[in-house]
Amino acid sequence: MKQKLVELPEYGHETATCTFCPKMCRFACPVDRVEGSEASSPWGKMTMLRHLQTGEVSLDQGVLASAYKCTGCMACKQACLHGQELPPVFEAVRALAASRGLAHPKLAEKDEAMRLWGNPVGPKLSEELARRVPPSRFLRPAPVLVFFGCTTVKRFPNVLEETVRVLEAAGLDFAVAGPEKLCSGLPSLSHGYPERFREVALRNIALFANHARIVSDCPGAVSTFARKYPELGLPAHSKPEHLSVLLLELVRAGRLSPRLGRVRRAFYHDACHLGRYLGVYDQPRELLERVLGRKVEELAFHREMGLCSGGGGGLPLTNPELAAGIARLPVEEVRARGGDLLVSACPSARRRFQKADPDLEIVDPVSLLAAAL
């Protein structure tokens, strides 16, 4: 007595499991925490998709609108006994919409930028990168290739300079990806443009070929390289890694010796792609402890249950107020607990937090390390 499915039948198991579930993961979902609507809870979004599958409603009768309300943070998977992965399901709905000309106009605009420039911002990014990084670092053979995130280049150019300075201080032989700034392709994937993702991924893979370690300060980029690039031909010897992991390694090996200055109380934010996607929880904490002279403060929701910043899945484009509300949750907690420093190893999260509370000091671990050398 299974139901007949007319749309996206490949996700029949996922929608049935959620539709008849008592919404067990909702406490973990940042969208649910802020919007508090049954329709945008993980359950609600999957229920709407189920109605689409069984032909009861059409894509534009709320199905697509709710499928856009997901940051891809995977907190629901963490809270789900079945380990359901919902982001790929919503990505499929978005892709279906894009293929039928129903995509959100802001996402379509970003896709056009991706088509023209290989990044979602435009030619400015390559110019900024070339301004901040010494030309000798580009296009050189070196075991380590540093790939900066697009948001880092656009919003946090100081991180480019600090990273180069720190890695030079450690005497590391490294190159920087560029000067043409390509994106990892994660936005295309999560906005519903899998073909564009493929296009940019293949360009990156060709550039990665001669490096043993691909290091990025952008958790989304690292997780995309690690999870999605191998099936497109990324060779097994190219190991994607987050910058904080490399930095800890250098500190542990004595190649970098941070001086302990004023001991500071810092809250640490677990970025979704670093934590839940890559399982990197301990290394940034240890790095920060060595730099700050004390353990980081934990937010109430941390590690596996860490709070999303609201920056993923195109949410700031499709639902800007909701995205802003999500970013407020961690910063408000830091304020309520008397903190004045929030560390996040994700540029997009820092950007969101900064907008939510312009007066709070919000930094990348590398900035603290650079200041301590």
Binding site: M1, K2, Q3, A16, T17, C18, T19, F20, C21, P22, K23, M24, C25, R26, F27, A28, R33, G36, S37, E38, A39, S40, S41, G44, T47, M48, R50, H51, L52, T54, G55, E56, V57, S58, L59, D60, Q61, G62, V63, A65, S66, A79, C80, L81, H82, L102, E298, A300, F301, M305, E321
Partner: protein
């Protein structure tokens, strides 16, 4: 783009209502969109699953609003009285009795944007929080400060403080920490008159009947609860777990009675009958599993809840299983106390004929205590209903109650039960049942029939109809039998507080 085949009932309340709602709440906090109309049309009442399975939304919401202040609620109540529009207070829709189903349309008042923790008073061990906070969010923030509320319903991930208060909820550790009514020192609510009622915070009062407790359990019919002032505890220093196996359910019941009457307060007390032991509770040590038990254990992992779909197979297993009823006990608090409580409780169990299985079954239960909440989807997808029925009675009646309800249901559905939430004077029984008819209409008819006979059997056995799920729609028709003249008192109170009947009409048996 072409419409899907689902045609939602036209709104029962419309005509300029949206503009008035937007004037109060702002456009971002009002919705009449299709996705919200559908999503708020069912809660976790299992009939909602049947509707979903049938592709129906018989009671779509007209409007949903998300208040962020009491002031807005006061304005809303004024509007509702003026236009005679029903208001349905809404937590997280995890209620299992249809308490939020908008049977008469109107405005769903979703409290989840009022979810702040307003104050933690560590000296008095109290937390003041807004009603829309999810249980697990509140608990996690308390834990970060070394505190716990001690309220762990199986729905803690998907239910709100306001919902607990409105339904007289019970957590899995209620034997130690009490039910929600025991944890509540105060609350704030917006009444149908537009007044804001706030209780004075004191440990106890002798200033007339307890009005706080009038609102606790009012299921959205007497006021919109916006805040709770809740007792909290310091995180326990130690936790101990134990499993004890009994050859028959009565022996287990007797052990619980004696443990409680000795003055011991385990945190959790859960005694599973044979089938529940097999499907959910029993995890005897691997070493114990030989022959048939080992075979059972292997298939158990793959069938779990699905087994409830095969009554013949269940009947066969029940015979084979004969006489295995697991009692799980947990203890928490200071280390010396839990050690002592555990050893005294084990003595009592041994005298009652229980076999100590060590800490493993208790630990296993603790680690998987919410798992069962996730497991029903496959059965529901295939058109079965799975429902629960939680009654309570004094020790005098408990055994009869168990037998009578089982007897009433046997042959109609597969049924299993566990005893939890124990008191010196009695205990609650939690029946789970599953079934399906030949087609959708037959399934609906069977579902109704099963509830009718179960209620009647419970009432005839001296039980209360609900220990902690509440009444909602599903038990409303039985409230006369439950309350007798008390129902007239309740109706008179309702009439006095909400003369226009705007608050959650059709629920709790207090209005049509």
């Amino acid at each position: 783009m072409s419409d899907g085949k689902l045609k939602l009932r036209p709104r029962l309340h419309d005509g300029g209502l949206e503009q008035e709602l937007v004037a109060i709440f702002g456009a971002g906090a009002v919705s009449g969109r299709t996705e919200e109309r559908i999503a708020y049309g069912r809660d976790l009442w299992p009939r909602g699953h049947l509707w979903m399975r049938q592709g129906r939304v018989p009671y779509p919401a007209d409007w949903v609003v998300w208040p962020s202040t009491e002031r807005q609620l006061v304005q809303l109540v004024e509007l509702a009285n003026r236009r005679r529009v029903p208001l349905v207070p809404y937590g997280a829709g995890s209620g299992v009795c249809g308490g939020t189903v908008p049977v008469q349309g109107g405005v769903m008042v979703d409290l989840k944007r009022m979810s702040a923790i307003l104050a933690v008073e560590e000296r008095s061990l109290l937390v003041r929080a807004q009603a829309g906070i999810l249980g697990q969010v509140l608990e996690t923030h308390l834990n970060a400060r070394g505190l716990t509320m001690g309220h762990f319903p199986s729905s803690i991930y998907c239910s709100t403080l306001g919902g607990y208060l409105a339904t007289r909820s019970a957590g899995q550790l209620s034997t130690r920490y009490g039910k929600i009514e025991d944890m509540t020192l105060g609350l704030k609510a917006v009444l149908a008159s537009g007044e804001i009622y706030e209780t004075r915070a004191a440990p106890r009062s002798a200033t007339g009947p307890d009005l706080l407790q009038l609102l606790v359990g009012s299921e959205g019919t007497l006021g919109i609860i916006t805040e709770g002032l809740m007792r909290v505890h310091r995180m326990p220093q130690s936790r101990r777990f134990r499993g004890v196996m009994f050859n028959e359910i009565e022996a287990g019941m007797e052990a619980i009675r004696l443990v409680l009457q000795k003055g011991l307060r385990p945190a959790a007390v859960r005694l599973y009958d044979e089938l529940d032991t097999f499907i959910v509770g029993a995890k005897p040590r691997e070493a114990e599993k030989k022959g048939f038990a080992a075979f059972l254990s292997r298939i158990q992992k793959s069938v779990e809840y699905r087994m409830l779909a095969w009554p013949e197979v269940v009947g066969f297993f029940e015979k084979m299983l004969g006489g295995k009823c697991l009692l799980v006990l947990t203890f928490e608090g200071a280390a010396e106390m839990t050690r002592l409580e555990e050893s005294l409780a084990l003595e009592v169990c041994a005298e009652a004929g229980g076999r100590d299985l060590g800490p493993e079954p208790g630990k296993h239960w603790w680690e998987h205590r919410y798992d069962v909440s996730y497991r029903q989807s496959p059965l529901l997808e295939e058109g079965y209903f799975v429902d629960t029925f939680e009654v309570a009675a004094t020790w005098e009646h408990l055994s009869t109650l168990y037998r009578n309800v089982r007897q009433a249901l046997s042959g109609k559905v597969v049924v299993m039960a566990h005893f939890s939430h124990a008191y010196a004077e009695g205990c609650s029984i939690y029946f789970t049942f599953a079934g399906r008819g030949a087609d959708e209409a037959a399934t609906e008819a069977l579902y109704k029939e099963v509830w009718r006979v179960a209620m009647e059997a419970a009432l005839a056995s001296g039980a209360t109809l609900s220990h902690h799920h509440g009444v909602g729609l599903s038990k409303a028709a039985f409230m006369r039998q439950q309350l007798g003249a008390g129902l007239d008192m309740l109706k008179a109170i309702k009439k006095a507080l909400d003369p226009n009947g705007i608050l959650n009409p059709g629920k709790l048996g207090v209005s049509e």
